[in-house]
């Protein structure tokens, strides 16, 4: 057992932190939130040059041959910086899914471009109405038409779809239990996008497929057997979100403690008051416990070990731990933390979005219950 990072991972962390401190100011984050695309092409290219997109891919596709655990370190830094970019969509949702289940031909076709920063990918999974990340929630239909499948229906909360080059579209290819993942050209005229206005200022989209043809060669993985692959993709996405959240709440703890040391009332720093000290101690406990449970899940994924329970524990725990952290962070920051000028809200808003993504605490508690044999 070892709960510390390797030297290489510490270096990766430092490089990422320095780079993002330089390139990703809160002014930049705000600009991106207000922009149409939500990301900077220049920064995206620099990230590719740093090898970030390819980090966890095999060298034969141009990747860095590093592990998911290494990627976890990078995701944590991105969360810490509130980095606006289609990295999560492209790498976690898109690229690693192709690596999982794509044919060799598909990998050769998509991964090198992705790794070079030339293509943006995303995953179209969730739909309007109640969505609980189960196969039965998928209603978008794919019907066979010669060498094509025709896809119709609406996906919702699809990240970065408006700027994507390719969409992994999860569709019902058989009325009962037949789910297939299609790799669709995102510029297909049969697709309409509406960018939603969200709490985090990220770019989640409504994606309407109107009789969109996809060649059957673009099936990713196995026809009608897509859901078991999806479960792993959702699991990895949940852990990825946990990693971002760890970076987020770690930074918020630091900001809050710094503020408590500086801010004076009654002629003394508010951090000298025991009630504030205990709030901060509670925050630190939530941050550390979220970190360990997250990295446990990331490590198990990285090692290829079965980890349904550990992933569920990590995401359930951090969802609620982060809510507690933010309640206290705002209380300690006082009114200044409630203003749009202060940086705290960048974190508050992103934490809520991440908590909702890929299953909240109730969703994962039910999975834990099943794993307990209840």
């Amino acid at each position: 057992m070892k709960l510390t990072l390797t030297e290489e991972q510490e270096m990766l962390r430092k490089t990422a932190r320095d780079f993002l401190a330089d390139k990703c100011s809160k002014k930049f984050v705000k600009q991106m939130e207000e922009s149409e695309t939500g990301y900077s092409k220049g920064l995206w290219q620099e990230m590719a040059e740093l090898g970030w997109m390819g980090l966890a891919f095999p060298g034969k596709y141009g990747g860095g041959d590093m592990s998911f655990l290494d990627l976890a370190v990078l995701l944590e830094e991105m969360g810490r910086a509130c980095l606006p970019s289609p990295f999560f969509s492209t790498v976690i949702l898109g690229g690693l899914s192709i690596l999982d289940i794509g044919s060799e031909e598909q990998k050769q076709e998509y991964l090198p471009k992705l790794i070079r920063g030339e293509k943006i990918l995303t995953l179209a999974l969730t739909e309007p109405g109640y969505h609980d990340y189960t196969a039965s929630s998928v209603t978008v239909e794919a019907t066979r038409d010669d060498d094509n499948y025709i896809i119709s229906g609406t996906k919702l909360f699809v990240p970065d779809a408006h700027i994507a080059d390719y969409l992994l579209c999860v569709a019902r290819s058989k009325p009962k239990n037949g789910i297939t993942i299609f790799l669709a050209d995102a510029k297909n005229p049969g697709i309409k996008y509406t960018v939603l206005k969200t709490i985090a200022g990220d770019k989640l989209c409504e994606v309407v497929f109107d009789q969109m043809p996809v060649p059957k060669a673009n099936i990713l993985g196995r026809l009608n057997q897509g859901w078991s692959a999806m479960q792993k993709i959702i699991q990895r996405a949940a852990v990825g979100k946990c990693c971002e959240m760890v970076g987020n709440i770690q930074r918020v703890l630091e900001m809050t403690v710094d503020y408590a040391k500086e801010r004076k009332q009654f002629d003394r720093p508010i951090g000298s008051f025991q009630v504030i000290q205990h709030y901060c101690a509670d925050m630190a406990t939530d941050v550390d416990s979220a970190r360990f449970s997250t990295y446990q899940a990331a490590w198990m994924l990285s090692e290829g070990l079965p980890c349904t329970k550990e992933v569920a524990i990590a995401k359930a725990w951090i969802g609620e731990a982060s809510q507690r952290v933010f309640a206290l962070a705002h209380q300690i920051h006082g009114a200044i933390g409630a203003t749009i000028e202060h940086d705290l809200h960048f974190y508050t808003r992103r934490a809520k979005a991440a908590e909702l993504a890929f299953g909240d605490a109730d969703f994962y508690r039910e999975i834990v219950a099943r794993e307990m044999g209840l």
């Binding site: 040391k261 000298s272 209840l374």
Partner: protein, 385 residues
Amino acid sequence: MDFSFTEEQDKFRQEVRDFLEEEIKKGYWEPTCDAWVQGFDPGFTKRVAQRGWIGLTWPEDYGGQGRSHIDRLILTEEMLRYGAPAACHWFGDRQVGGAILSFGSEELKKEFLPRIVKGEAYFGLGMSEPGAGSDLASLQTRAVEDGDYYVINGQKTWASCASFAQYFDVYARTDPEAPRHRGISEFIVDAQSPGLSRIPMADITGTEAWNDVFFDNVRVHKRYLVGEKNRGFYQVLHQLDYERSGMERLMGNYPLFDAIIQFAKDNKLSQEPVIRNKLAQLQIEFEVGRLLIYRVALVMEEGRAPNWESAMSKAYSTEFEKHLAGVAMEVLGPYGQLKLGSKFVPLRGMALHSYLGSKGYSLQAGTTEILKNILASRRLGLPSS
């Protein structure tokens, strides 16, 4: 990072489990909540000692095995999982032996460590006093030099394991003129010393959980001074870090956890969404707490004394213990109020026992408030209040 155990560690865990299951099968004892601190069973302690499982991390020179803190955590984790009656040796093994090892003279080490290891020396603690709880440095028990002896007068309270203790680890004021943190010394006192008397005290479960221990001109030879004179307060802080470090803070009432999950399954209560949700939340809290405690063992493994790390894991874990007892009572409904021995009592009365007993968990070995003070100052560097 690596969250796995080595093959040897897995094998050791299995060895401990096999031993404990065999004990239960032979009917030597049954799993009980709080057995680590209330289960006095000299035979069990002897059998554990025969396996070399007391003083596991101590140097071989003193009878220990020189094994890792992770091994010790595995051992204690399984003891707690099975609710084994380990109270006779728990304090000596967990902290007093360690204190002697860290601060004691060679003579003291040779006198006590091998006997603790053999399961032949049981320790109780003499820290708190009626007027000195969280503010331990205000303790009033006096130790006055008299030739080769110290003469101790005063009263200690909340002494766990005191009824069976053969020795007490006692903190007394040796320099009343010095600043209060700098006038305290640590002694090992034979419980049979003339002038030492004990009065048992029942906790709210009705268990005789503690003793008041009175010192009336108790003479202790100077060789039983542990460490440096007047450095006792710094030594006790060190010892408390170890006292807080272990799995007993999370798993003290673990047999109830197993039992309530089984109860829910057997009675189809586990189909109820509200109950599923509550039990799953307990499981999540348990597993998260376990990681915080393994972190503490890893800190010790690096050769550092745990400090805010064990403050964090203990503060967290005692909340879990309380939450577990609360949920168990909710699941049992009106049956939860039945006492051991009553008609219809479920789960051998463990839920009721833990519900009441757990109120003390966040007080002993440092209140949650003191632990959060430690976190605020040592981990976060917040200014003193």
